[in-house]
Amino acid sequence: MFDIDKWQEIFATIKKNKMRTFLTGFSVAWGIFMLMILLGSGNGLSNGVSSNFMNDAVNAMWIWTGETTIPYQGMKSGRAIQFHNEDQDLVKKVSGVGVSSGRYFMGNTRYSYKKESGEYTTITCQPELIQVENIAINEGRFINQIDLEQKRKVVVIGTDIKTALFKDTIAIGQYIDINKVPFKVIGICNEPGSTRNRNAYMPLTTAQMIFNGANKIHNLAVTINAQTLEESKTIEEQVRNVLGRKHKFDPKDEGAIGLYNKLENYIQTMRIFQAITIFIWIIGIGTLIAGIVGVSNIMLIVVKERTKEIGIRKAIGASPSSVISLILLESIMITTIAGYIGLVLGTGLMELINYFMVQSAGPAPSSDQGGGSIFLNPTVDINIAISATLLLIVAGAIAGYIPAKRAASIKPIVALRDE
């Protein structure tokens, strides 16, 4: 194997047969290159869409009230449903429901601090909301249980509100007027990946007390613990049943309460992605097979072309094994180097695309309205890349071995007559 003379012989052969070497190498390099691009693109698409889902908890579910559309138990349709604090307790008891946060809508709320003022969205919530929605705290803290229990007049404001009202001065600890009621700023937050941070968060209990909410809730944000689409649907159904019994509406009434199940959506999208992944693999394996067939074909031709040379070598004293190893080592060397080149070019191109995507996305995230790109990190698992290359090398070796063995075992005289 490490016979220097043998390698000199192989290198001499390669040097004198540039076209043949190039064709063999090219088909291998091209196969690997295409595979890398294909798998890389698939990964990029998959990564991109997955990251878009990461904004909120993937197992989030939102429930809001509406009007009944189906007459039920002698009551006409068109009846408005109103949630109260008890409803949240009911929903919490449904098995599979994790944390939850109620919310009371306040309509337009005017925020003012000294001479600055503006209208922003107020979200009244419980501390659990931070586990459901995508909220990042930049300064201070989020609403906590004590705020809720003591009905403290505190508020967490979005970065846009802070900038508008406070400019560069410190906001934490200052009091701002919300609809002319003073609230203490306890935190500054933003939504990662979003360009609008005009939301403010205050304790649900405080809002209910100050802004005539009594014990009303407008919607509920919960997390659910489900692994499959079926489980998630069951939880959804139970929520409808429980609330339907309480508010006397048909559980099948889609209008009475609104329900958005993100997990369901996520699972469905992931299913599509599984299908896309399978599709990409099928194409990838197809490409690989095409590469294997190409290499095999070239090896067959190479051996055929060298039949006479094999005969000559045998006549002057080459043993069959030395002939086979000469041909095989040559083909393995060519496919290995070419496979490596294809691997480097393919992954290199995908990394380059990745680099430019990061570059162009970096300085101007705000130009992209709210959403991330659907293409992210289009790179290939290096293990897959290497195994694909090895597969091609082995296939090339086998494809070369069979005809080489046959050629080495035919009588030299027959090989020599082969014109």
Binding site: A12, R313, G317, S319
Partner: protein, 241 residues
């Protein structure tokens, strides 16, 4: 040197079996210069292949320099070919992507001689053939006679006991043919047994012994003394024609 005893060889052709050699008894002494003649299909090439250990025989026995050549592994027969036999072919059979020197040196590669040393030896042999200036030329840049001389140098480089030549002049014009025969004669004079297969009477007439094959059997053997008679007959035959 070479002793054949009742050699049989047949080829399987689908369901039919083609009986090519039907019992050849032959003895060739060290230093002989022999030609094998016969019409096509008479088995002369098959005989040469068996002599050169390129092919097996079915029945009988073949002794080469005292060794029984029978049912040898490919590896062993390759080694023996490398040590004992040099081949010269009608179509030269040089490796097209190697230059003259590398072609000549190739048998020494299979003997395990280092590159530098074998190239040096190859140059010596090329010089003997008067082809020193052509050492770095590729086969397609040389004439037929030159190529055959390279092939003879290659056959000689491993110091064989026997040179087997299958129609060595078949692809050459008559002047070059005689040149090649002259070289083979010199080779023979150095003590190496030379066996050529040919269908040309004038070429065969340059050897010391002619073995005529007919239908897989030795039809006649014409030795030194009788050779003059053979030549006379040949000339008479030509005149009639």
């Amino acid at each position: 040197m070479i002793k054949l005893n009742n050699i049989h060889k047949s080829y399987e052709m689908g369901n039919n079996s083609l009986h090519v050699l039907k019992g050849i008894d032959l003895e060739i002494e060290q230093g002989d210069f022999v030609s094998i003649m016969g019409s096509s299909g008479s088995g002369k090439s098959t005989l040469l292949n068996i002599l050169g250990m390129l092919d097996n025989y079915d029945k009988g026995s073949y002794h080469l320099a005292g060794n029984l050549i029978q049912n040898m592994s490919e590896k062993k027969s390759a080694k023996l070919r490398n040590d004992m036999v040099g081949f010269v072919f009608q179509s030269f059979n040089l490796i097209s992507f190697k230059n003259a020197m590398e072609n000549v040196a190739l048998p020494l590669y299979y003997k395990g001689i280092p590159r530098k040393k074998r190239n040096l030896i190859a140059m010596e042999y090329l010089e003997k053939m008067g082809l020193k200036e052509w050492a770095n030329h590729m086969p397609n840049e040389m004439s037929g006679g030159q190529k055959q001389r390279v092939a003879i140098a290659r056959a000689l480089i491993s110091n064989p006991k026997i040179i087997l030549a299958d129609e060595p002049t078949g692809a050459l014009d008559s002047a070059t043919s005689y040149e090649v025969m002259e070289i083979l004669k010199d080779v023979n004079d150095s003590g190496i047994t030379v066996i050529i297969v040919t269908h040309e009477h004038d070429i065969a007439a340059l050897t010391n012994q002619i073995i005529r094959l007919k239908d897989g059997l030795i039809h006649e053997i014409i030795r030194n003394g009788e050779l003059k008679e053979f030549k006379k007959n040949l000339i008479r035959g030509l005149e009639i024609a």
